[in-house]
Symmetry: C2
Subunit: 347 residues, 2 copies
């Protein structure tokens, strides 16, 4: 590892850092089916799999309490974690929630946070079974772990994609990022002029997509009813581009997607226009959409086309690791991961 020593955390990035620190880990337990490297780890319980996923959410890095109500934060923290469980084509069962709390928080504030947590638990039929609570030196930090179960034949890993399979995405992309941009803009205007009243009317759709994402359980149910088992599946937390590359890398193949097929809501386009920004950039690199990206056999084209809220955006190719974005003119560009990198100095 000597030659790696000179690399900084910024250079490695989040994924590089995890790869670097966890390379060379050997699996000792028979029950460990899949370790680090997917949306969740997979544990073999004989007749079914259990998936385990964990997320860290830090004030000032992942959320800003200036514009994030604590109840929404609690709800979103759970949903974000459940989204990883659903992305394994598994059903969530239990969660643990740990909190680090600085002196600025009151019991009432924490009650609000837990209201959101409980609402998500009720809605998705999940049990809050444990956690840890501690004082923190600065701000709020939330660490969640979610457990779920999947039938063995239904588990969807990132590595399950095959060449020629269709690439599908649920809902529309880029909206959450535009919601964040608007909240950040209003926050800055308010900071510059305390008399300024944030103007959030008319942005309901993109704001809700950012503040209150919903996991796409509906589409998973529709797939099941249609008798479709996804090949690879991942949830879109860092942006379409980054997630496509994860699937390509894990599956050892490539993909091509068509830019005009990438679903973007009108509200997202309008907001992007205000910021003089290309909506496609928000869809490719914005992240936090928590939509599902998955592959299905080519023969399922008619079936997936019949499911509302699903877009077929391209297909997997034989080309190892290459993710291509094909434009209207037929020209293709290589996709690169530019998801939210919390280590990036520009952030």
């Amino acid at each position: 590892m000597t030659e790696k020593k000179i690399r900084t955390i910024e250079e490695l990035g989040e994924f590089g850092l995890i790869d670097h620190l966890t390379s060379g880990i050997s699996i000792k337990q028979e029950s460990t089916h899949t370790g680090i490297g997917d949306d969740a780890a997979v544990i073999d319980h004989g007749t079914y799999y259990q998936v385990v996923t964990t997320d860290l959410l830090l004030e000032g890095v992942h959320f800003d309490l200036v514009y994030t109500p604590l109840k929404h934060l609690g709800y979103k923290a759970v949903v974000v974690n459940l989204s990883d469980v659903y992305a394994m084509n598994a059903a969530p069962r239990q969660i643990t929630v740990s909190l680090g709390i600085s002196g600025k928080f009151s019991v009432e504030a924490l009650e609000e946070f837990y209201e959101g947590v409980n609402l998500a638990c009720e809605r998705f039929g999940v049990d809050l079974v444990g956690g840890d609570t501690s004082a923190s030196v600065t701000g709020l930090l939330v660490s969640l772990t979610a457990l779920g179960t999947a039938k063995k034949e239904e588990l969807a890993l990132r590595s399950g994609a095959k060449a020629k399979q269709l690439i599908c995405v649920t809902g529309d992309l880029g909206a959450a990022y535009m919601g964040l941009k608007i909240l950040e803009r209003e926050k800055q205007l308010h900071a510059a002029d305390p008399e300024f009243q944030p103007e959030l009317q008319g942005y309901d759709y993109v704001l809700e997509r950012f503040l209150k994402p919903e996991p796409r359980v509906d589409v998973l149910l529709a797939l099941k009813e249609a008798g479709i088992t996804p090949g690879a599946m991942i949830d879109i937390s860092d942006g379409l581009s980054s997630e496509l590359l994860h699937i390509c890398k894990a599956s050892g193949i490539g993909c091509q997607v068509y830019d005009e097929r990438i679903p973007i809501a009108d509200e997202t386009k309008e907001a992007a226009e205000e910021f003089q920004m290309e909506p496609l950039v928000a869809a490719l690199h914005g992240g936090e959409d928590y939509e599902l990206l998955f592959t299905v056999p080519l023969s399922d084209y008619d079936k997936v086309s019949a499911i509302p809220g699903l877009s077929v955006i391209g297909n997997m190719t034989e080309e190892d690791g290459k993710a291509l974005l094909v434009g209207n003119d037929g020209n293709a560009i290589l996709l690169q991961a530019q998801g939210w990198n919390a280590y990036s100095p520009e952030k």
Copy 2:
């Protein structure tokens, strides 16, 4: 909940806060056997139980990098979590490790931390299967989740104690607290005079107990070999007093322990003397010993007495919730929890 609204987090304390925030939670999943309130949650997998426990460790609250080498921190972070698994009489199988890292940490520093994590994983046969990594605004934060399995008939909950059962404790108590006191003293002397060289020689035992605790797997194996199934079991993280009260409360009975039977090492007594402190106070309230406290049927007295490194310190009583400490003179005092309370302003 209206009457509770005026309470502050400090007044509620850690356990009170958790109780308050998670009261009224209903269990929805059939597989959830035990939720919040034990060393770990318990999930029913049909022929066996799975236990799930999670811990949050924050720089400046739970550890001080001035005197905690990162490799030790990684090792201890895992061990502390495995200790909760062992305290359910379960075998640990998998862990996840999430890190929040501020800019002051290099890749090499994180490699050291993971060296400790991997050492503990190798030693206890546990797989590191996942985690999350993020930038943090200040310092280092570590969130771990451990999963283990237990035979259904062997699971030891806090609620499993019965009146007249013997109370046993492994190893000796109070050493980790004295180790911490010495490290804190040397740190302050060094801060007052940068020329001062910390003098840690001769304190090896108590320092190691603080910096590198070991879970008592050996005693669990000895119990199994002797055919003893513990009634209640808990690990001593907050101090004997606090853990006895947890068992009393969960089991709905009381206990009495004899002060002269509480095992305290000579090194702990000597260190306590330097601080003009009663060694018993370190044993009762010091915490971080990660020894096991458990009950066994009275009929197992001869068997447990034959196991090295075990002390029988008292017995459970009929008296609801009362934990008594009986002195040499036969007088008894009521034990109260004074474990490390991270919310306490005196800390």
